[in-house]
Symmetry: D2
Subunit: 355 residues, 4 copies
């Protein structure tokens, strides 16, 4: 009952096979290999347009490099106040941007709203050079609350951002789950809605370690190569990153994996709700946030359940837990099985009966 993170899963078999296939013969070092070129072409196809691409191996690197492309050190990046870039990357955005400021916008269910963004930008502390001026908006898709922006929601936020001169970045650590959930094309969910740069994550979705920085407005890609090299993220044997992504893009395997993880999470969410438990956020991707009665939490842990306890200020009043509840985050990966979900639900049943 391992629901702690989608990155606790191994790599998909297709990825391992691809690595083995890639492991033959010599190849040009430092990202000039054929596999990398094929991935670049394939991503252009996936997004239905010319793109600039830079491959790295962690989401932190992808996000921090992407944001550094969009902001000067004396400017600010707006993000949700509970965003991964704000809290979970040990200040990587500040490091890569040489000290730009992250400014948090509040928003229920982990989502920034156009009104919230407008209100924040209307505050009187954005006039340079006394203040830092806002340079970019970054949104997580799926969000840290497991919710998903629709294409029109992305578009509405990007409209506000662009009307104020801000560029738009999307942290797509769980982009596959978002695409599968939103059920629109990758293009519609990104550049067609106004996104300038996407951190396209594969690590949580079947890769060993692979992320693509996808720049839609290729004029924004000018210093990408230098930033990657200078931060130590240019692999000499680039084919081994490319091979992973190639395997996952083939036949839309990445979307299939996203769909599968979402389905497991949906089964879990429905099961928990059917047993009277309250979800803190609507289940839209592969994460389930639930208020567990203490005896249920104890029973799950006794049965070997592994998951994070959580906290959030973005929970709607009607979705708050009761005193004593344990706020839990349960994540399903592409490998999570119905049996695992049902096993967990079975333990919940027993605990509820006993209580």
């Amino acid at each position: 009952m391992f629901f702690v993170s989608d990155n606790a899963a191994p790599a998909a078999d297709a990825v391992l096979s691809a690595l083995a296939r890639a492991n033959a013969g010599l190849s040009a070092p430092y990202g000039k290999d054929e596999a990398t070129k094929r991935v670049e072409r394939k991503l252009a196809e996936v997004f239905e347009r010319e793109v600039a691409v830079s491959l790295v191996t962690t989401g932190t690197a992808a996000n921090a490099i992407a944001l550094a492309q969009l902001t000067a050190p004396w400017k600010a990046v707006i993000c949700h106040e509970e965003a991964h870039v704000m809290h979970d990357e040990c200040g990587a955005p500040e490091f890569f941007t040489n000290g730009a400021k992250l400014a948090g916008a509040s928003g229920l269910d982990g989502k920034i709203t156009p009104d919230g963004l407008t209100a924040l930008l209307d505050r009187d502390f954005w006039t340079p050079p006394t203040h830092v001026a806002p340079a970019a908006l970054t949104i997580s898709q799926a969000t840290e609350a497991g919710t998903v922006y629709t294409a029109s929601e992305v578009g509405a936020l990007a409209d506000v951002a662009k009307s104020r001169g801000l560029r738009v970045h999307m942290d797509g650590a769980r982009f596959a789950n978002a695409v599968a959930s939103a059920n629109v094309s990758p293009a519609e969910l990104t550049w067609k809605a106004g996104v300038d740069i996407l951190s396209f994550g594969f690590t949580k979705n079947g890769a060993m370690a692979a992320e693509a920085i996808v720049v839609f407005d290729t004029a924004l890609a000018a210093d990408l190569a230098e930033r990657r090299k200078r931060s130590g993220h240019l692999w000499s044997k680039g084919r081994y990153i490319a091979a992973q992504i190639e395997a996952l893009l083939a036949d839309d395997l990445w979307i299939a994996f996203g769909r599968r993880a979402n389905a497991s999470a949906d089964r879990l969410a429905r099961g928990l709700e059917a047993r009277g438990l309250t979800l803190a956020f609507p289940r839209q991707a592969n994460e389930v946030f639930v208020h567990l009665p203490a005896p249920v939490d104890a029973a799950l842990k006794a049965a070997g359940g592994v998951y994070y306890t959580w906290s959030s200020e973005a929970v709607r009043p009607e979705r708050q837990g009761r005193p004593g509840d344990v706020f839990a985050r349960l994540i399903a990966s592409f490998e999570t099985t119905d049996a695992e979900v049902d096993g967990l639900l079975g333990v919940v049943d027993q605990a509820l009966v006993a209580a």
Copy 2:
């Protein structure tokens, strides 16, 4: 009717005279001059203990260098969410700390409370290396809302900070006004209450441009000289900074100036309240925040009044303005006269009668 800032005032005569006196003969460059040494000794006397001192010419430099002494780049500094270091220094703290994070605590009247600080530190996003760990607390004294922490309030905040391993910095751009208001010794308001480093401001209080970074725990001063030089703040002719401070420290002129500015602000605040206007924050130092009825604001401006309009989320419910009011910040300096205050109040009278 110039109430826009205490730094619009000229330097005090005593300061100019001191500069003229200092302007004779050769002197050792780069802070090794006799005037600087005298200031260092005098500050030790003022604070009743050994201190390490570094002289600079702007509050931004003093704050940013001081904070950089207290935090690693991958750590966080807690400040009030409307603090000067957060919003008004164009990211200088981020620049000097090489990208540490400023985390804002809310608090009415511009003041952080022990409970608010505790609650923030109890959030679950401070565990390294995923998260940045908190390294320091900085408080403004007087605050950006013109209020003043009592010595025991400083002590209570420092107690919380130190129990969590945080160091404490005080932004004393208006330290003179705070000391005059709190009516305790400089020692009691700082290191005796737990402050490790003070940015001791003179520029807003009669100097041309002079600020002292005063380090009470001298072990925290290790890299001060390098940070000052590397940021271009080591003057070759250091005597001209020292002379200003020396003139203001003599005979406690700085406290007299602080008291005088506070008194003018008090006269102004009482006058406004007597005329039925609402102060947004209690007047405790040399700043008055008031909700001006629109006709009053218009009349003041027509009469040549100069001041900033303001906004804040730290205003108590009972101190909110009415719709249409202009939220104004009026600052008195050591040079503000009763006649100027009364002149302003006279215009208010006329406007209220006309309305």
Copy 3:
């Protein structure tokens, strides 16, 4: 005839097999997995002492993080003036150290000498805070000229460094080749000779992408976790880096690979010298630097030879090429075969006969 770099080679079969074996079941994310722990223990065994270890995937990251552990931003790192950290990492050391200075020491055959180091440290530009003070020495082992410091040469340099308060780092991108060449234990070539931190490279020696930062003085490891996370080098699925290293450390496979590459380079060097060509540097590890007569260079390229042309100011007078010669760097990897070497020598023969 691919002699362009040891990182053009694929990963060793043993490494791929290890990745496949690692790809089973769930495992704790972010470097807390069992494979990482085993590697840490194994490295302690290899170096015959307690060590602190941090795993990353590029030599640039390993070097830059290691150097950042050893220097403040306002200090300097001494390296050979043609060192990889100086010229080939796009300023990564400056990025990770937040702007420390690299200062180049000259030295024939790519090696810094104790006298050269002493002379540089005796220059009059190291007194803080005007000047940056030297904080660390970094040496490459094997060097960028393909030469190898003996254990006593390392010790002599470290003695000078430590007598001046400098810490010592070793860039071991080709540490395996150096150990194989010097024929001493890893411990003797590092900490027993005074090295504080080693960048232990595996990528050029059979890994896909894996480097270990090995800290011998564990007190110097304090911020290692934060630096790795903050720079985006903490893998969520850490087992896949660990597995590579584990496979190469097993049964000293890494030394066997180093020895094999060295032997191929030796065969190549002897063959070239036997044909009258001049080596620019003595062949001591897996790199051969040779002055190719232009017709030989042309013939090799016509035959599909791939290698870098080079330049260096560290060539001894007696090892200079003749006008018109092409200065070539030829690198052998653990996969280079005698047949490949002999094939190249055959082309040289033909070219020399034709000339």
Copy 4:
């Protein structure tokens, strides 16, 4: 006999008077005052063209901000290997540029030559993203060896720089001495010869603390305001910097001061040469570098002489001292009198007689 530095001198009377005059009434803070505007107009007049200007108080700040305008963090700035920016600013250029690299070019008499610059740029370590690419050339005028580039020498260097895409900065800490020595207009010595940004120093030439960053290609001034604020160099009471510069620009007082200091240095240099001593560099501005026989050095120190001992690798063979000589740097300021110079020469006479 104080010849240690031109910044040991006090401020000129004209400067002090200007400060006193400026000290009346209120004035707009943060560089929006009238005095600053007048200086900006006056500098446009001095340089016979539109310029963008930013006033700061140290040469280190002026240089570091100017260089940061010209280079990305992953690029390099070429300077003379003994330049002030390289050695005497505690890494300020690296701090302000967020880690760009300074690369030193050699050159006799402290001057870079077009051939030397070309040779350095022809080295093979400038190709991004592996290497840092060169972004700017900075030259000191007068140089650290007290020599002066002629306008045509500046032009020749700028031609090389611009043909390779580099921008050109001039460190004019002693610009007045250079203009007085070269006897051409400020325009001819700067932008007409290809200089993009000048650090125009006043501190060593009669100011208390004042330097102007003068940007000739105003497109390069885009982020100047933010860099100054963020580094703590924006004074709230800007009139006090402007007043100093205004006083020195009036009636070309700055050039008169430069000429006077040069004349004193000339008198000193001729006197020393007439006594058989060897100058290490030709005397062209206000600095004299001389090899003092040890007894002369001892006699001078006994008589209260204060000056720095020096070292340089840029001394021509025919200008080297004899073993045992003390390499001394003697600086004349605008305040140095003939009597002081003759006093020093008198001590030399006595020492030579005694020897």
